[in-house]
């Protein structure tokens, strides 16, 4: 198994890509802390994941609240004392044309998609630096590279993750902590299914492989970046988009 006895935290892991990553990590032997804001939802997912083994654990906090992140990591530290992998997956999508974007939307999107990753990375790197080993994977988006009408805020928040990834990779490489990002394309999640049918088909048509991606296909790339298979890979942004952006 690729992640035997490795300890991972995955933010926003109760559904979609985050949940797929959690399942794959557990299947590969990791102990996975499932993060989400909704306690009931997190506990339900943990219970489901633990039907086969006891490798899933709850870690309930709001990534956008620095105080909550700090308390959660302090609690996590008391329990485990080590962290091998952090996946910054928590994110929100709240589209609007620029003239109709509210200040609250901007603040909330950046607070979750961008600031949350910075807060968790701060604490994670401190834990990882003690044993001079670790992997951080940020889940960005293809939109960070291409932009999209109505997604100025979302794309900005996800593009920031790319800068954060490259900067952190440079800053902590000497500690043997690797920082990489994945930019998923059109992936079959609740988010993708929420768009109008005509737009959905247009998106699929724009993909070179002519199909929507599955969250498990993103998870596979994240597993590569989290495991020793990518031990000499850092500061990279890897597209998982079926050739949508070539």
């Amino acid at each position: 198994m690729l992640l035997s006895e490795q300890v991972a935290i995955i933010t926003g892991a109760t559904r979609g890509i985050g949940l797929s990553i959690a399942k794959l990590f557990i299947a590969q032997g990791a102990i996975v802390y499932i993060n989400g804001r909704d306690e009931k939802k997190v506990l339900t997912i943990v219970e489901q994941l633990n039907k086969e083994n006891e490798r899933a654990k709850p870690l309930i906090f709001d990534v956008s609240d620095e105080r909550c992140v700090k308390e959660a990591f302090q609690q996590f530290y008391k329990q485990t004392k080590k962290l091998d992998i952090l996946v910054n997956n928590a994110g929100v999508l709240d589209d609007a044309l620029i003239g109709m974007v509210k200040k609250d939307q901007i603040e909330r999107t950046f607070a979750i998609n961008t600031f949350g990753a910075l807060y968790t990375s701060q604490y994670a790197i401190r834990l990882m630096s003690r044993k001079k080993s670790g992997a951080i994977i940020n889940i960005s988006s293809i939109i960070a590279n291409t932009g999209n009408s109505g997604q100025a805020v979302y794309s900005g928040s996800k593009a920031a993750l790319i800068g954060i990834t490259k900067s952190l990779a440079k800053e902590v490489a000497h500690l043997n902590i690797r920082v990489n990002a994945v930019t998923p394309g059109f992936i079959d999640t609740d988010m993708a299914r929420s768009i109008p049918e005509t737009m959905f088909q247009e998106r699929v048509d724009s993909i070179k492989m002519k199909r929507i991606g599955h969250p498990d296909e993103v998870a596979g790339c994240v597993l590569f970046l989290a495991s020793a298979l990518s031990s000499y890979v850092t500061g990279q942004i890897i597209g998982v988009d079926g050739g949508m952006l070539i």
């Binding site: 620095e66 700090k70 990591f73 302090q74 530290y77 701060q122 604490y123 401190r126 630096s129 003690r130």
Partner: protein, 78 residues
């Protein structure tokens, strides 16, 4: 005992002689205590005392005396 442990953390993280670890020694006052070494010092202190410092405390840790003061907040007895 705690004081000796703290001093050892400074010695190891900053790579300076033990006799130079005095209360008045301040962050950025010597080339060895730069931001990179500061984070190594934080890691050493956290490991030695089995604690996890707040980010604000890391930023506030501006001298040896201040480090001691901050550590007492985490139930480290001097």
């Amino acid at each position: 005992m705690s004081n000796q442990i703290m001093i050892k953390c400074f010695v190891d993280a900053l790579g300076i002689p033990q006799e130079t670890v005095e209360d008045y020694l301040e962050y950025n006052s010597i080339p060895q205590w730069d931001s990179v070494a500061h984070m190594q010092l934080v890691a050493a202190l956290e490991e030695a005392f089995d604690i996890m410092l707040d980010t604000d405390d890391i930023i506030d840790m501006s001298s040896v005396a201040k480090a001691r003061q901050i550590l007492t907040k985490y139930d480290v007895a001097f």
